[in-house]
Point group: C2
Chain length 236, copies 2
DNA sequence: AGTTTTAACTTGTACGTACAAGTTAAAATG
DNA sequence: CATTTTAACTTGTACGTACAAGTTAAAACT
């Protein structure tokens, strides 16, 4: 029944081209009139497609110039992976402490699992993120084993799980729930982040929803924020 | 030049009626056709106005039924006042430690002030938020004295600064920048939140942008997250 | 050569029309 | 009376047209 939504097809086509780099970041999309010709639609429909991409943060429009492709991933609550990779000017390093493996769900996951998920096993992986060779964040990540194949470390695009999802599997992050707590570091966290036990760390629990309804990502993050606070901004 | 944007006038008219409770939360707006008649516009234009309100989180649309007025303030990054007041089922109390007064800008504000602001004085007020009679959050708030009059405590609508802004001054929050740090509590924080010095607290620095370009709000918050973690969710 | 004007692009706003599709309550049916 | 059908609403999609307004580079002018 949704086959009739022409604008949706156009939207998905353009989105795919952005994700695959055919329309590179910073470049301008074909003009609205070009899109009309290409898909044999009216400008109303083409604009509707672009409006959706605008809302999703894929493009911005410049009056008189065109639609420019944006860097993806703004406005995902706080500290998406972007919040981290974005710490520009700084040397980022990621060390995989535990490569993705089939495992049982951990009780340390803060958010309740769905029925479907709890019955399957899960894929688990653990990483430490460094800035300027200082360990800043300890990451635990889980997702349902039957929702997505086990991704090997070599398949990570630029070390980013989200980029891999987007570019290899065309899965987008649709939203997230998060909980934040200031906690004293336990032994594991202290060891991995080079802190004393009991020092204050920021504990962030996240449940990411994706465009694949069966795939949720669960992350438990422990951050040393003394030097690099977590930043977040949102604009309507 | 912007006078010509009919949809904007309609949008602002409806927004005002929502803010003033003429279109109450949960009710349905007049239908698109009614709006057309009322403003002598076509449905295209009426829908454009509603689209904007949809984007801004004022309404949601229900196919075949109508446009429903939403509770305001979703998706403002994390922990807007809503994030707090929302802790439903719990008894919330707010104690004003320092009523709004003219003061000098404090160096403890994490975000850089604008040139215009730094030259003026500011209005400062300090509050402690309680949940179930336990002090949970210590708040410091500042805004430029020449951007908005000094609001007296009695004028706070339901104890909420944001509701007051919205309903009395028609000023909306347009976005925010935030920084999060896990820190050991200092003496002032520990005293006000009933903690030991050195216990981990969540320090949140916020700069709110408003629909009044000259008015920014600066807040430094200190949270005891051990019992009530800060929640945040975002959906595209 | 340097400046101004123009023409050809771009997106923004708004008109009007038509039909599809979801919702609801009244009317027709058994 | 209970069920089904219909009619009258709602929003969703898409057509086509026209002109306004911002941008840019080529053309015309001084």
């Amino acid at each position: 029944m949704k086959k009739k939504r022409k604008y949706y097809k156009v939207q998905e086509y353009i989105k795919k081209n952005i994700q695959q780099g055919i329309y590179p970041i910073g470049s301008y999309l074909p003009s609205e009139n070009d899109i009309c010709k290409q898909f044999d639609i009216t400008r109303t429909t083409a604009r509707k497609a672009l409006d959706e991409l605008l809302k999703d943060g894929f493009i911005e429009k410049e009056h008189g110039k065109g639609s420019k492709v944006l860097e993806r991933s703004k406005s995902l609550g706080l500290l998406t992976v972007k919040g981290f990779t974005e710490a520009a000017n700084h040397k980022i390093k990621t060390v995989m402490l535990q490569e993705p493996k089939i495992d049982n769900w951990s009780p340390s996951i803060a958010f309740p699992l769905k029925q479907d998920e709890i019955q399957a096993k899960c894929v688990y992986f653990q990483r430490v993120r460094y800035i300027n060779d200082k360990p800043i964040m300890l990451e635990h990540n889980w997702y349902a084993e039957d929702a997505l194949e086990l991704i090997k470390p070599d398949d990570f695009i630029e070390g980013s799980f989200f980029k891999t999802l987007s570019q290899k599997y065309f899965i987008e992050i649709k939203g997230s729930k998060q909980e934040l707590r200031a906690e004293p570091a336990n032994k594991e966290v202290a060891n991995n982040l080079g802190l004393e036990e009991g020092e204050a760390v920021l504990h962030i629990s996240i449940c990411f929803k994706t465009s694949n309804p069966t795939l949720n990502l669960y992350s438990e993050l422990y951050c040393n924020t003394s030097e690099f606070p977590i930043r977040n901004s949102y604009f309507l």
